[in-house]
């Protein structure tokens, strides 16, 4: 019984983690940017979705759409306010852009977090479920919403896979992560490719944020924690590797769920962290990463 419960919860939580992390890894893979405002962008989507539903009475789907849109706009803002100015700056030496982008996106993330807390207070909020009611899965009473979220996550992940592997736009993204210089020589404007990556990223982070708000709830003050968890998952799976991130998400998700159910909810994050440390020491490029 508890095994099935763990399976179901673990599956859905992991899917949600995965969805949150793949956008993060995509941006790193395509443009080498570690976006530490990631949690903030997810939360913008979550809070806006919750806000329009509560204040303007949007139905759950309309609210979710508004949330995703907000996430997308936040991603664009992140790109244009922090990343792009640093990449094109003449005063910042190229070998230091990394630390500058990290610092800038961190500050930007703090601004988002504080801005949200100011506008919406820092109380945790939960969006109304997309689907009400419960279903019985092998004897475990599971909210329909949870099932729906698990499925939605995988639908979005599947769509991303199709986009990257089966379309010309997707091939361009792959090529950019492989060798951006060559892409320019073949007549592709890199800035446009990056913009495309940020668009996809914004949608992914938006969907992840909205689903998070509807499943676990969201609080403006959780931005840092969300970024850290996406970061750990991505490092575990290998920076820049989308399938690695999914595997990482499932390892973390299941370890957390198992620990929470079988040992103690207090210890929830520990085993995954230990695994993370081991992986970073033994195989710093992550499970599927390449040096």
């Amino acid at each position: 019984m508890i095994a099935i419960q763990i399976l179901i919860d673990g599956f859905v939580i992991s899917a949600l983690y995965g969805l949150g992390a793949i956008g993060f890894t995509l941006i790193f893979g395509v443009s080498g940017v570690l976006n530490l405002a990631h949690g903030g962008i997810m939360l913008i989507a979550a809070m806006i979705g919750w806000f329009v539903a509560n204040t303007y009475g949007f139905n759950p789907y309309g609210a979710a759409a508004m949330g995703v849109l907000a996430g997308l706009l936040a991603a664009y803002a992140t790109y244009y306010v922090t990343v792009r100015p640093i990449q094109t700056s003449r005063t910042i030496p190229p070998d230091e852009t990394e630390i500058f982008i990290l610092t800038a996106t961190l500050l930007w993330g703090v601004m988002i977090q504080e801005g949200l807390a100011y506008l919406f207070s820092d109380n945790p909020v939960t969006m109304r479920p997309l689907l009400p009611g419960v279903v019985n899965i092998l004897g475990v009473r599971t909210p329909r919403n949870e099932v729906m979220i698990g499925v939605l996550c995988w639908v979005v992940i599947g769509l991303l896979w199709l986009l990257v592997n089966r379309t010309r736009l997707g091939k361009t993204l792959l090529a950019a992560s492989n060798n951006p210089r060559a892409l320019g020589l073949l007549g592709f404007e890199l800035s446009r490719v990056y913009l495309l990556a940020w668009t996809i990223y914004g949608v992914l982070a938006g969907v992840a944020g909205v689903l998070l708000a509807s499943f676990l709830g969201a609080s403006p003050l959780g931005a840092g924690q969300l970024t850290a968890s996406a970061f750990s998952i991505v490092v575990l799976g290998g920076l820049g590797s989308v399938s690695g991130s999914l595997i990482g998400a499932y390892i973390v998700g299941f370890m957390e769920t198992i620990t929470a159910y079988l040992i103690s909810p207090e210890l929830r994050p520990i085993p995954a962290l230990v695994v993370l440390v081991l992986v970073v020491y033994v195989r710093p490029q992550g499970l599927l990463g390449r040096r």
């Binding site: 500050l107 601004m111 520990i270």
Partner: protein
Amino acid sequence: MKTIFRSRLFWISLVAVVIGATAPWWLSIYFLGVLTTAYYFGVFAMSWDLLFGYAGIVNFGPTFLIGLGAYGAAILNSQAGLPIPVCLVFGALMALIGGVLLALPALRLTGPYFGLVTLVAVLLLQNFIVIFAHFTGGEIGMMVPDVLSVSAPVNYEYALWFMVVCAAILFGLSRSSLGLILQATGQDPIAASALGFSVTKHRLAAFCISAIFSGLAGGMLVFYSGTASVDTVVDIAIGVQIIIATVLGGRRTILGAMIGSIVILLADELLRPLGQLNTFVVSAVALAVILFFPNGLLGVLLHGRERA
């Protein structure tokens, strides 16, 4: 020695320290408190800049070292009741041991991976503090039986002189032969090793120095505030603030890191009337400085914008 007394920097610093030392006579108790904390942060930031700006090591987990120092000192004080100086030394020792255990295997890693390990170390420490709550007070934090002083001016002077001594040592180190070699290993490790310098040895040394000062300052902060808690000495947000303070003040200058810390903490207080928006405004200003003046406040003071 003669050159020291001729340098403009020395006289400016001397005047600044004298003015700082007289602050208890003309500044409110409230701001003395703010500055006291800011001075300890200044030491955190300077220790971080020695690693980042000189040895070229990006340590995302300064609070791992600070937290070890703070909790090491606090636990020894509350469990064994030993006097504060002993606890401080013990804390610094814990930070040093922890730092070496972290750095020895991690320094092999290159690129972003070293940064990742240090970040994960903070997360681990944070969780261990929560798990061993009966020792550490868990999420609430722990009180220490002893404090440096109950008088705000005395605490202020302790912090000021602690920072001045640390600044003198760290700044001196940065200008010493060791600092020269550290910079060489940070800028071009291959060329440095071809000149006959052991890169690993020097990087480890830089990490140890940073650990000792971070740990000491962490312990001092605990005996000033009377508590050790995750939120004040371990949380990633604290580490972030240290990094931001350094870049804001001017990386690779040691003294800039100190100035950045004081500016950030003061600004946070001065903007308190804005209510919840104050952190937002401080972050926005810091972001603007980083984008438009990448060499930080000290860089602007020294060279103006065109040299940036």
